[in-house]
């Protein structure tokens, strides 16, 4: 009788263990089923009359998702130590399973004229979904006379 009970308890534990493990694996796969990539094709800097202008193009991002995800993305221009300009935060909820691409974004920012010197100009595309993120950047170095 005791051996029977022990055996029953053993299989009960084993079954419970497997069941919980399955739930965990499912949750793990679900939470890791989101992949994001972002890129920026190019950035340019030029003085335009009383202003300086930074122009970037090819802001692209991709999200692969196997469940409904909320995607946050935005563009940024930065000149380290001088200033930065972010676009508005853009948010979209993608349902179910799939791959979504945001392509061909562009941004033009306007700056008070920079003092003569060397500068690094960066343009970034940033994307975030399910706490997974990526930033793709284009960088140029410019000398302003």
């Amino acid at each position: 009788m005791g051996a029977y009970r022990n055996k029953t308890r053993y299989y009960l534990f084993l079954g419970l263990f497997m069941f919980v493990s399955l739930i965990f694996i499912t949750l793990w796969v679900w939470s890791h089923g989101t992949y994001v990539t972002a890129s920026t094709e190019g950035v340019n800097f030029y003085p335009a009359g009383p202003l300086d202008v930074v122009d970037s193009w090819g802001h692209n991002w991709t999200v692969m998702h196997n469940h409904t995800v909320t995607v946050y993305y935005w563009f940024t221009h930065t000149i380290p130590g001088v200033g930065s300009q972010c676009s508005d935060l853009m948010t979209v909820t993608l349902e179910g399973v799939g791959v979504y691409e945001g392509v061909n974004g562009g941004m033009t920012s306007f700056w008070d004229p920079l003092s003569p010197g060397n500068y690094t100009i960066e343009a970034l595309t940033s994307v975030n979904a399910d706490d997974v993120s990526d930033s793709g950047e284009a960088v140029i170095s410019v000398t302003k006379n």
Binding site: L27, P50, F75, T78, Q85, D88, M90, V92, S109, V132
Partner: protein, 229 residues
């Protein structure tokens, strides 16, 4: 007996990992204040009534023969408008303009229509939020969304701010940032101020394909103009 101890320990570990896993997938996403209602006007691009007069930049205008010198913003706007080839829709927050009784009734009617529509085909539309404004985009159509932001108080960074800014820019390029960290960095950059940046105009294409649909050309995109000037 040892077998039970091992199994129990394994069970507790799995339960613990489950809790961690559940926390990971269900933790709250950053909350945005995105509930602004929209007054949708189907008209071509036009300047808003409120001028932005605190930009430091002088108007970029060389032609002195015109009666009125366009503002810097309108110059930028006109330049960007040249790129648009299809009909545009301007979106302005309701609270900026006030709501008349008739427009409120009209909105109520639209809301009823939307509810009915979404009840019939809930996946026909995708809601996109851009800087606090909700847009309902139809699947299968391509959209070009244009936005702008102007900084009221551009100023050079202090040495300490410049140092912090360089550090933040370096962090921004870190490929191992989590989504939450990336959003926090963005917030910190915004809090630090724009430095010498006066503002920007940006555009993005959005297209939510129907099954088997080929991507429409960019020239067919419906322009949604969110620039508030």
């Amino acid at each position: 007996m040892r077998r039970y101890v091992i199994l129990t320990a394994a069970f507790l570990i799995v339960v613990g990992l489950n809790i961690v896993g559940y926390y990971y997938v269900s933790k709250p996403k950053p909350v945005q204040n995105f509930q602004a209602h929209l007054d949708i006007e189907r008209e071509d691009i036009g300047l808003l009534n409120e001028p932005i007069d605190d930009l430091r930049a002088e108007p970029v205008q060389e032609d002195q023969t015109k009666d009125q010198t366009p503002s810097f913003e309108s110059q930028v706007r006109a330049e960007e408008s040249d790129r648009m080839t299809s009909g545009s829709i301007s979106f302005h927050p309701v609270e900026d303009k006030g709501i008349s009784e008739e427009s409120a009734q009209e909105q109520a009617a639209n809301a009823t229509f939307d509810e009915g529509e979404s009840a019939e085909s809930p996946k026909q539309f995708v809601t996109v939020t851009v800087g606090g404004r909700e847009l309902r985009l139809e699947r299968g159509k391509k959209y070009l969304i244009i936005g702008a932001k102007w900084n009221p108080n551009p100023r050079p960074y202090t040495p300490e701010e410049a140092k912090r800014h360089i550090e933040l820019c370096r962090k921004l390029r870190d490929p191992n940032l989590s989504g939450e960290e990336l959003l926090k960095l963005r917030e910190e950059l915004e809090a630090l101020g724009p430095g010498l940046a006066l503002g920007a105009v940006w555009s993005t294409y959005l297209w939510f394909p129907l099954p088997g649909q080929e991507e429409p050309p960019d020239s067919e995109a419906i322009v949604i103009d969110l620039r508030d000037f």
